[in-house]
């Protein structure tokens, strides 16, 4: 869409007349005029035409009214894709809206249809931005959005973006969106936290707390009510039971029953006692009667026994006397026999003693003989021993070992052989004397024998009488005689050892030793014969015999005769002993009989004594028997009487046990009733206390109240939940809508904006965060600059650029829209404005731009299509 002309009549300062701006072309169109010329009025009228329904009487429409009154009329010619149209709107009186085809002049639409037509132009579809893009003096879209006191970093960083975003949102209703969202969030976050949990201290959390508190109270109270009702039920049951127990009839019935049972029990008890007494009496009488009978029977029997015993004692006494005399006779006979034995034995003993002494004397004599013999033997033995000792000593000197002799003999033999050999090798000399010369030659003073060979060993000096001394030398080697010397040494050593001078002496000694040895053997034999057990044994025997010989030797009579007498006496003893033994049984028998008789008598006597003590004096016995008899009769009668009494009582005996059991049972029933009643009273007291406490605190009422309050609190919570759900939903919807609007417009706009920024600020680079679309940094002259320090001029320029970017976006979308700038660059310096103009011109190749400005001089440099305001009067 493009604007080609704008006309207004009766608008603000143009009361009663109108102005027209005709010939608005493509590209940049500039309307510069001094202030109060009506530029802004034209701007507002254009805005009203597009955005205010003709029926509106709203504030923005009221502002259009001229000071002098009248009905504002606005008309615009546009060129759209499908033709050229004239849009007309009149407000207030005669309000109308029309769309005519400029080509045909035909009325295309009016009233609401015209509004719809216009709406379609500006809307570009329900979701699109307005079809006109506006920038007003000083209106950068920054200030309003940065309301609130939270100047956080994010807010600061937002500022620049906001100038972009704000413009976009200004076109898309975003400011209201922000307010509504903030209202919605304000309400929502009063109730919940950022994570949508009930906010502590908030009304929602309060309601939940209240509900939970009431719910727990309700549970507690319900249980108390249950307890109370149970207590009431229990009390009712207890009371019923107590009433039952305490009913007078019941109580009286129990008392009467006990009284009756007590009476029955007492009667049974007294009868039972009487019976017991009668029984005891009867038993006693029976015992008495029985004793009397026993006494009488005993007395009578004793009496009879006494009689019998008296007779027996007489007989027994006689028998005992006989036995005693018999025993005496037997004793006498026995004594006699024993005396004979004693006599014989005495005599025999005497004889035996005599005989013994005689034997002893005989033995002593033999011993003396023997002693003498032994002593002689000892003497000889000692002599023999002496000779043995002597022989032994002699032999010890002489004795030579046969081996030594044999060795000596061997050595001797060797020596002979050696000498013989030496003899054979020695030089010899022979002197054959001239007759008489014999003995003139001597060797060592000894005359040398003539006519015989004389050998010599080493040298020989022959003294030849009268002649001189002739020395002969053999000159034999020194070792020639060594063997002989050795043999001689060996022989001499053996001889020394044997203590003899020669082998012959040794052999002689050996022979002597043999002789002595034989003599020794003989001496020894003799000693052995004399003292075969050795001398000591012999001496001991001599000592023994010496002792035996010390007995006094008295020898009287002839032992043989004595032995005969002794034998006779022994025989006599045997005979006497036999006789005595024959007598012994008779004595024993008599003694036994006597003892038996005596014992029998003693028994009888004792019995009689016992009976006597039992029976008392004989004189009183008759009277006593009579008394006993009388007592028996009397006591038997008494027993009969007592028994009869008891027998009479017996059948009438009551069952005491049963009566007692009955009584006990009835008493326990009554006691149980009393106890139960007591227990019930206690229970009731407890229950009363409980119930009264609960009832007085009206627990049921409180419970119901709590229930109702709980219902209300739950409803409150539900209401808050629903409120939260609604607010959450609304917030989500708003945020989603805003975010999609951002996605739809903001991102593309930002990407359109970046090259424009490059046009205007060659020394600045601006970075946007791709995700948050927040400005990341502004870098100018190589320095990072704080965003909030951006000047008003820069903000304003950014704002214009944003619109241009937006318009460029729409144009690219095939929906070109005019950009209208009303005194939009008031803060910008000349240099910047020129750059801005360049930017505008660059953009204007693709779209229509209307610039209203009061800065005539500055904007002269803008160039473009210069517009004029002309007086205009509506045709109709």
């Amino acid at each position: 869409m493009k604007l080609t002309a704008l006309r207004l009549h009766n608008v603000k300062r143009f009361g009663g007349h109108g102005v027209a701006i005709e010939g608005i072309g493509d590209g940049v169109n500039v309307l510069t005029a001094a202030n109060e010329h009506g530029k802004s009025t034209a701007f507002e009228a254009l805005h009203a035409l597009f955005f205010q329904p003709h029926t509106s009487a709203g504030k923005s429409v009221q502002l259009l009214k001229p000071y002098s009154g009248g009905n504002p009329l606005v008309e615009a010619d546009i060129a759209a894709a499908d033709g050229q149209f004239r849009l007309t709107k009149q407000f207030y009186t005669g309000k109308r809206a029309e769309v005519r085809d400029l080509g045909t002049g035909r009325l295309i639409a009016q009233a609401d249809e015209a509004e719809a037509f216009i709406g379609e132009l500006t809307r570009g579809g329900s979701a699109g931005p307005a079809g006109l893009l506006w920038v007003r003096q000083g209106m950068t879209g920054i200030e309003q959005r940065s309301k609130g006191d939270e100047e956080s970093d994010k807010r600061v960083r937002e500022t620049l973006l906001s100038s972009v975003q704000g413009e976009v949102e200004a076109l898309t209703g975003g400011r209201r969106m922000a307010e509504i969202l903030s209202a919605c969030e304000e309400e929502l976050f009063k109730l919940v936290t950022a994570t949508l949990r009930p906010k502590a201290g908030g009304r929602y959390a309060g309601a939940i707390e209240e509900r939970d508190r009431l719910a727990s109270d309700e549970v507690r109270l319900a249980s108390e009510v249950t307890t109370l009702r149970e207590a009431l039920d229990k009390r009712r049951v207890a009371r019923m039971r107590l009433t039952e127990l305490e009913q007078p009839d019941e109580q009286k019935g129990r008392k009467d029953a006990i009284a009756a049972a007590e009476a029955a029990f007492e009667a049974a008890k007294s009868h039972s006692e009487a019976l017991k007494a009668a029984e005891a009496e009867a038993t006693l009488a029976r015992h008495h009667a029985e004793k009397a009978a026993t006494d009488l029977a005993g007395f009578t029997a004793a009496l009879e026994q006494a009689g019998r015993l008296a007779q027996q004692r007489v007989e027994t006494q006689t028998r005992r006397d006989q036995a005693v005399s018999q025993r005496a006779m037997a004793a006498a006979e026995s004594d006699q026999a024993l005396a004979a034995v004693t006599t014989a034995e005495t005599e025999e003993r005497e004889h035996r003693a005599l005989l013994t002494r005689l034997d002893a004397a005989m033995q002593a004599r033999d011993a003396a003989d023997r002693l003498a013999q032994l002593r002689g033997q000892l003497e000889r033995a000692e002599a023999a021993r002496l000779s043995v000792e002597q022989a032994e000593a002699a032999l010890a000197v002489l004795i030579i070992a046969p081996a030594a002799i044999a060795q000596l003999q061997t050595v001797e033999l060797d020596l002979v052989r050696l000498r013989a050999a030496q003899e054979a090798t020695l030089p010899t000399l022979r002197m054959d004397y001239a007759a008489g010369g014999e003995g003139t030659i001597t060797a060592g003073g000894v005359p040398v024998d003539g006519g015989a060979d004389v050998g010599f060993a080493h040298s020989l000096r022959l003294d030849i009488a009268g002649v001189g001394a002739l020395t002969l030398r053999s000159n034999r080697p020194a070792e020639a005689d060594r063997g002989i010397e050795q043999a001689i040494g060996k022989r001499d050593k053996l001889l020394d050892a044997l203590g003899v001078e020669s082998l012959a002496a040794a052999l002689q000694r050996q022979a002597e030793a043999q002789q002595k040895s034989a003599a020794l053997d003989l001496a020894r034999q003799r000693l052995a014969d004399l003292a075969p057990q050795g001398l000591a044994a012999l001496q001991a025997e001599i000592a023994r015999w010496g002792d035996l010989g010390a007995v006094d030797l008295v020898l009287k009579g002839d032992p043989a005769a004595l032995r005969v007498v002794h034998a006779t006496l022994a025989q006599t003893i045997d005979m006497a002993r036999n006789l005595a033994r024959e007598r012994q049984p008779a004595l024993a028998q008599a003694t036994t009989a006597a003892v038996a008789a005596e014992a029998r008598l003693a028994v009888i006597v004792a019995e009689i004594a016992t009976l006597d003590s039992q029976l008392g004096p004989v004189a009183e016995r008759g009277a006593r028997q009579a008394a006993l008899t009388e007592a028996r009769i009397r006591l038997q009668q008494a027993h009969a009487a007592a028994e009869a009494h008891a027998a009479a009582l017996r059948p009438k005996a009551h069952d005491l046990v049963a009566a007692e059991a009955t009584l006990r049972r009835l008493r326990s029933v009554a006691a149980a009733a009393d106890q139960e009643a007591g227990q019930l009273r206690v229970t009731l007291a407890d229950l009363n206390g409980n119930i009264t406490a609960r009832a007085d605190s009206a627990v049921e009422e409180v419970w119901q109240e709590t229930n109702e309050a709980l219902a209300k609190a739950s409803a409150d919570v539900a209401r808050f939940e629903s409120e939260v759900a609604v607010l959450t939903r609304l917030r989500a919807g708003l945020i989603a809508a805003r975010s999609s609007a951002r996605d739809l417009y903001l991102k593309p706009v930002v990407s359109e904006l970046l090259p424009l920024l490059g046009l205007l600020f060659d020394d600045i680079s601006i970075q946007f965060d791709e995700d948050t679309l927040l400005l990341q940094s502004v870098r100018r002259n190589g320095l990072d600059e704080q965003v909030e320090r951006l000047s008003g001029g820069m903000r304003e320029q950014l704002s214009v650029l944003t619109r241009l970017a937006f318009a460029s976006l729409l144009a690219r979308d095939g929906r070109p829209a005019p950009v209208i700038l009303d005194d939009a660059l008031v803060y910008s310096d000349d240099d910047r404005i020129e750059r801005m103009f360049n930017a505008l011109h660059q953009q204007a190749r693709e779209q229509q731009i209307l610039v209203f400005s009061c800065r005539q001089r500055a904007f002269a440099k803008l160039g473009g299509n210069v517009l004029q305001m002309q007086p205009w009067t509506p045709t109709a």
Binding site: R123, A127, A130, R176, R235, I691, A695, L727, L734, R738
Partner: protein
């Protein structure tokens, strides 16, 4: 039971007039109301005794039959009980006959013990199924509730209770009648024709809080002081006149209520002005301070109308003792023009469109649709609040 009654009763042998009431529910706490109102409601229940007495005296009745549920719980506070009995005793010329109901059944022996102990001479506790002779020819046959749910027809005994010929027989009972029964077992209810079966001249019933005639001789008096919105009738008692045995009773209602509980049903059509409808329906003459009002809005409404209606209700709420608004049944319609009031285009309009679509999306759950709808209404409200 033979009562010592004033001698003048004998004079009016042919005619007997009494007040029939029930369900005073003394001590009820109204936990679901704000504290201050709670106290007033509670006090109003106690006040019903005095108002009953006043009506009896004004209408020449000497006897007041209370057909059960005089007390709300089995264990009212001593203050509730004593003050109630004392208030009855204060009107010494009246005889009060108090029947145990299901809320204050005979199981509540704590209550009845205390009542026996504190009852003034003119209060008769009808706690046994024995005839109460008010006069030689006037007998009340009470059927006290033995338990919360007795499980049998307690009025059964009235049919076999013999009275001398010509005696006025008045039944007094508490419980449901078969016709009203919805879920209780048949054995639990009072035979609706008990009056005929037992030859009663009148059967005074309690339990149902609304006033209703079961038949010519059988009535529920309803509560003298309503305690809920359910019955939507002013609290009243029944003035009953019996012109002799067998004669049809003359029954008329007398007002006794202090508070009015009103249910106001707003049935709206889309495009209808809810505020106008409300103003038309709002009771003008009533004492709003003594009125608890529940507005049930149903039907359909446009977005702005709904906002306006709720604002109007907010406006009048302080006039009333209590105002409860239930607009759950009020569907909200929104058309393009309504949405234009939010925004003609842009993100806000997108959000509104999305919410509207969601609220009409049959694929979504009822709850989701309602939330979406409510969110839309809220968005609308915000937009109205924030100048465009």
């Amino acid at each position: 039971m033979q009562l010592q009654l004033p001698a003048r009763w004998a004079l009016c042998e042919a005619m007997f007039r009494f007040l029939h009431s029930s369900d005073l529910h003394l001590g009820k706490r109204f936990g679901n109301f704000p504290d201050d109102l709670r106290g007033r409601l509670r006090e109003a229940r106690h006040g019903a005794i005095g108002r009953l007495a006043a009506q009896a005296l004004a209408n020449g009745a000497n006897t007041i039959l209370l057909a059960g549920d005089t007390f709300d719980t089995e264990t009212p506070t001593p203050a509730i009980l004593r003050q109630a009995l004392a208030e009855m005793g204060r009107h010494a010329s009246l005889t009060w006959i108090m029947l145990p109901g299901n809320h204050d059944s005979l199981l509540a022996d704590q209550l009845w013990d205390a009542a026996r102990a504190a009852a003034p001479a003119n209060v008769v506790l009808a706690v046994t199924t024995a005839p109460i002779d008010l006069a030689p020819d006037i007998t009340v046959l009470p059927a006290p509730c033995t338990a919360r749910r007795p499980g049998r027809d307690l009025t059964d005994w009235m049919s076999s209770a013999a009275t001398p010929e010509g005696t006025l027989r008045i039944g007094l009972a508490h419980g449901a009648i078969q016709q009203f029964s919805e879920d209780t077992a048949a054995s639990d209810v009072i035979a609706p024709n008990r009056a005929t079966l037992a030859g009663l001249d009148y059967l005074a019933l309690g339990d149902w809080h609304g006033q209703i005639a079961v038949n010519e001789r059988t009535w529920y008096s309803g509560t003298p002081e309503p305690d809920r919105f359910k019955h939507d009738r002013p609290g009243s008692a029944l003035l009953v006149t019996l012109d002799g045995a067998g004669a049809p009773p003359q029954v008329s209602a007398v007002e006794t209520a202090s508070f009015t509980w009103r249910d106001l049903s707003l049935e709206l059509l889309s495009g209808e002005d809810g505020v106008m409808a409300l103003e038309t329906l709002l009771p003008i003459a009533v004492d709003r301070r003594q009125t608890l009002l529940r507005v049930m809005a149903n039907g359909r409404t446009r977005l702005p109308a709904r906002t306006a209606l709720l604002a109007a209700l907010d406006q009048i709420a302080p006039d009333f003792a209590h105002l409860e608004v239930n607009a759950d049944g009020l569907a909200t319609d929104a058309d393009a023009a309504d949405l234009d009031r939010i925004d003609r285009s842009g993100a806000l309009r997108d959000a509104a469109n999305a919410l509207l679509l969601e609220s009409q999306d049959a694929a979504r759950s009822e709850a989701e649709r309602e939330i979406a709808n409510a969110a839309l209404v809220r968005l609308f409200t915000y937009c109205e609040a924030i100048a465009p």
